[in-house]
Symmetry: C2
Subunit: 124 residues, 2 copies
DNA sequence: CCGTATCCTAATGGATACTG
DNA sequence: CAGTATCCATTAGGATACGG
């Protein structure tokens, strides 16, 4: 198996790439992007479809994504208000590496659970 | 561009895959795995090479990785003590999706910074 | 050298109530 | 409907000191 070494800069304390990684390495971000990869969604749809997210965190995460240029927020001037969230072109490019990672998680969930089991037993 | 939809289960509140994602979606985990992909390291090496990590967080993150079966911890019985950390076979399999994500981050750092700039100017 | 233990602060994030 | 505002509990995580 070939191993790709990361660029050195990542390991320096103030590396900007680390800031970008922090953006992605978020509990909710991954899930939101995963949903939007399927097509635009309204606020309430996202809220309903993502189990356990609070309104506050949904708003906050969407704002970050918008700020970082991964998500486009569109407000339709009507009553009641209608707001749609969609991935930007840049946002779409992250889907592939992200789904690869999630696939890995799904494929290895059992192996990891087993490892945790063994670890717990070993330290008892 | 083809978009892969995530499995539905991920969006349920107590989905075990989300726990696995949380494992990876950590500030330090990514960097540690990136270093170990290159070969085994000692504690002090990791501490030196990862800028800004505290001893506490390094220990904590390494324990998690060991617990999850991604990292193998080997203690050599000698004085002064020598402890080596290496990726397990499972740990190696995550390198590819992880480096893909980090590559994405490095390729898009400028676009994201620019987007943040525009966002800040628009809201002033 | 490789940790653990303790203390302490800042940030996270849920619950709830209220608004255009 | 799509938020904002406020309060509050929990946690994350740095600094420091100490131990095998």
């Amino acid at each position: 198996m070939e191993i790709v070494t990361l660029s050195r800069g990542v390991y320096e304390a103030n590396c900007p790439t680390r800031h970008v990684l922090d953006v992605i390495a978020d509990k909710w971000t991954t899930l939101i992007i995963g949903l939007l990869a399927d097509g635009p969604r309204r606020f309430a749809e996202l809220h309903r479809q993502i189990g356990g997210i609070s309104q506050k965190m949904l708003t906050q995460t969407l704002r970050s994504l918008e700020r970082d240029g991964l998500v486009q927020r569109t407000v339709y001037a009507q009553v009641p208000p209608r707001v749609e969230y969609a991935l930007t072109p840049m946002g779409q490019t992250i889907c592939e590496p992200l789904t690869a990672l999630i696939s890995w998680a799904e494929e290895n969930i059992k192996a990891i659970t087993d490892a945790q089991q063994r670890y717990a037993e070993a330290s008892s």
